[in-house]
Amino acid sequence: MDTMIFLQHYWWFIISLLGALLVFLLFVQGGQGLLYTIGRTPDQRNMIVNTLGRKWEFTFTTLVTFGGAFFASFPLFYSTSFGGAFYVWMLILFVFVIQAVAYEYRRKPDNLLGEKTFDLFLMINGVAGALLLGVAVGTLFTGANFTVDRLNISDLGGDTTISQWSNRWHGLEALLDYRNIALGLAVLFLSRLLGLHYFLNTIDDAEIRERSRKRSLCAAVPFLVFFLTFLVSLMFAAGYAYDPATGAIAVEPYKYLHNMLEMPVVTTVMLIGIVMVICGIVAGGLKGSRKAIWMSGSGTVLTVLALLLTAGWNRTCYYPSLSDMQSSLNIANSSSSRFTLTAMSIVSLLIPFVIAYIWYAWRALTRTPLTSDEIKKDEHAY
């Protein structure tokens, strides 16, 4: 395989992995959305916020790194989608900003807005953050309304913008496609499921544990319904394929189904992932197992990873344009230069090291589940 082609595939893999880790880490958002459902007393809510509060920065950092890595490896996506689906991305940013301060400020004296407002911020982020990210990821399959012409920049005195959006909704129109909504809701309920499994793992409180166990089954049902809706619609959907030799893009019926058949390893990973999530649902929902999060979490990473690989590998356009098919983005026509991808690949060798120290620090902090007493003794508790 040509080095450039390898690098483009490698970087789509890294992006997919970061996206998969991000979806797993959305358990923080899922848990936030259930703050009042699971936490009936202030004490319980404090436990919930504090156990999530030890992890929220990872979700946030992964989101930022996902953005940065996408920018570095596929800059044309960054300039096309972010500048085009302006409202959707801005909404996502907005709900993440209010999250970032809520943990630290909620119970600090003189915090201007009061504990309830900051808790509301956490819940808005918990619901809207997960939902909107899911919708945005949905457009990687369902497409968006944009055109790309790099040489627009030579239009002196005219319109020099390279990537243009073809409607005034700037991304909000994604909410009109049921498949995006289905994926958004699937991500939302998945995040809630993972959040509840996380509570089972980290909180030592009988009431919270029992409530989380029961509630996890309630979240599992809509998650499976919406996820399967999306997956089945995807199996029947046409996609855009590109010709690596000419770059020409053409419609291919059942493109995603073909991708799964033509990439059996990826499909196997997805199936293993789905089975693991289901095992997690059973272990958490029926037995209240502390280890459910490891199964459902790993399953989530594998499933999302495979799903995103299906979007970008096998000569598929990962960002189909509904306005002008030839403008559609794929890993070949939107990537960085060979030099940059190589330089970045060397840096990416640090990732296992990063994961190792995160793992080490997590273990050190959460060897024992959180109790109400501990929060009362901890002067830095949120």
């Binding site: 030890r54 940065g68 800059p75 801005m90 990416s348 050190a364």
Partner: protein, 521 residues
């Protein structure tokens, strides 16, 4: 003004807003992280609970700033895409890499170990906790490194070449980008100025305790550490600032001329210490530029070129050209830039019409590996951005803003050196309480430290206009094509949100200072 130009202006306003707010929170964490790490090191070595309590107090203030710094930083990163779409395509191949590396190398380091710092006191060993505090501080400063490298590249685009096929600039040398003199100096200057701010903050808060007669031991020990830390790094800031002047003279002479309000170039140019500028319409020459000014002869030449008689170009020379000193006029640069843009347009037509001969001809022109291509890129493409300018005077940034902000920054920088020296001496002699008025000055110096940092960024960013990438891309063609209404909406949303969060942050901070450290056990 058409709607797109309004979009450009509001996008600039939104970016400036986010950057200003971001820089209200970040510099404190950059410096305070290290000050806390130093304090905790003393605790680790002595086992004295006093130092643990002191470290925890300052860490609490660190935490309050940290969260909001992250929040505003997220917006900044994504705004390159949302509001500056053309920019992101045109230079994303170079600019994206530092942002990604920042995420992988620095943000995770920060996020992982900051959790250990806050929640690990009773869960991990003393040594592990100390290491976490140092790693958090290092992580924060590494983040600063990468984003400053990216910013430096915009001011001085090196290590790249233009690729006709992809119609963008592509990286050719990672090391040239990372170790460009602008990047190295910008990092040193910005980060050490943040250390200065943190030191002023620690001294100001400690001075308040001394005035109140509370927490005297903590206040005095904190002042002792902060004044040494501050004095060392304020000197580094000053030296790197001086170096910065010399680099700007080389790579952004217009910024230097604007900073000085220098209209006509001079040999043996003097440095204006203070002055009041006349309105723009009257500022046609050096004599007509000021109502009055006080300066030091020859100093600008010395600072810029280390030579008292060196020639420093003025605004008029850079706009109109000055052949005697080899300065090309802006008009000539505009013509050359247009030629480069028009070649791209011709390339587009040729591609549309399938005119292979023209395609080959233009491809050869842009090929850096041939002498002709190398010459075209150097003589024409190097001025690409000028092609979009309407008139030569467009290359002049806002002179008064750049001029006054420079004086504020340098004046305050000099004042802080003095402040640290005085506090170090008083601390050494244990006479801090005797001079209450000096303690008051320290308290009022805290907002001034923030002002100095903002002024510095104002010079760097306003002074480089009209460029988003020096000489290659003017700000006006970098923006995304979104209706101005959309950007106005998000501008005011973020203004309201950031302002409320700032108010909350300040109230929480003041309250935490008023409450003081935990009770002694």
């Amino acid at each position: 003004m058409n709607d797109f130009m309004q979009t450009v202006d509001w996008s600039r306003a939104q970016f400036a807003l986010t950057a200003i707010y971001h820089w209200l929170f970040v510099p404190l964490t950059l410096g305070l992280g290290f000050i806390c790490a130093i304090m905790e090191t003393v605790y680790y070595r002595t086992g004295d609970e006093f130092w643990k309590r002191t470290t925890k107090f300052w860490l609490r203030l660190f935490g309050i700033n940290f969260a909001i710094g992250i929040a505003t930083g997220l917006i900044l990163e994504f705004e390159f895409g949302t509001n500056w779409s053309n920019y992101s395509h045109f230079v994303g191949d170079i600019f994206g890499a530092p942002l990604a590396i920042e995420g992988i190398m620095a943000f995770f380091l920060e996020a992982t170990f900051v959790a250990v710092v806050f929640f690990g006191w009773n869960k991990v060993s003393k040594g592990f906790h100390l290491a976490s505090t140092w790693l958090t501080a290092i992580g924060a400063n590494l983040s600063a490194l990468w984003i400053l490298v990216a910013n430096a590249w915009m001011q001085y685009p090196v290590g790249c070449t233009f690729n006709l096929e992809t119609v963008r600039n592509e990286m050719t040398s990672f090391w040239d980008v990372l170790f460009s003199p602008v990047a190295v100096n910008k990092f040193t200057h910005t980060v050490t100025s943040s250390f200065v701010l943190a030191a002023v903050f620690v001294i100001g808060v400690s001075a308040w305790y001394l005035l109140k007669g509370r927490e005297e031991k903590m206040a005095k020990k904190s002042i002792a550490i902060a004044s040494v830390f501050g004095l060392i790094f304020s000197l580094v800031t000053a030296f790197s600032g001086d170096r910065s002047g010399a680099i700007i003279a080389e790579v952004q002479p217009m910024k230097l001329a604007a900073m000085e309000g220098l209209y006509d170039g001079e040999e043996g140019a003097g440095l204006t210490v203070i002055g009041i500028l006349r309105p723009e319409s009257e500022r046609s020459s050096n004599d007509a530029a000021f109502y009055f000014k006080l300066g030091i002869p020859k100093l600008l030449s010395i600072m810029s070129y280390r030579d008292a008689e060196a020639y420093v170009a003025g605004i008029n020379d850079l706009v109109n050209g000055n052949p005697a000193y080899g300065i090309m006029s802006a008009e000539e640069k505009i013509e050359r830039g247009r030629k480069a843009v028009e070649e791209l347009a011709r390339y587009r037509d040729a591609k549309r019409n399938g005119d292979q001969a023209a395609i080959d001809e233009i491809t050869a022109e842009f090929d850096p590996s041939t002498p002709e291509g190398e010459e075209f890129l150097r003589e024409y493409f190097a001025y690409f951005g000028y092609g979009y300018l309407d008139s030569p005077s467009d290359i002049v940034p806002d002179v008064p803003l750049t001029f006054y902000m420079f004086r504020i920054m340098v004046g305050l920088g000099a004042f802080f050196i003095l402040l640290f020296a005085v506090f170090l001496w008083l601390s050494y002699k244990d006479r801090l309480e005797r001079y209450r008025w000096i303690l008051w000055i320290a308290i009022f110096s805290v907002p001034l430290a923030y002002l100095a940092g903002q002024a510095g960024w104002c010079i760097a960013e306003v002074g480089r206009q009209p460029w988003v990438i020096q000489d290659l891309m003017p700000t006006s063609i970098a923006a995304s094509r979104i209706g101005s209404g959309a950007v106005i909406t998000t501008f005011f949303l973020f203004l309201a949100l950031f302002s409320i969060l700032l108010a909350a942050e300040l109230r929480i901070m003041f309250k935490q200072i008023a409450l003081g450290p935990d009770k002694e056990k």
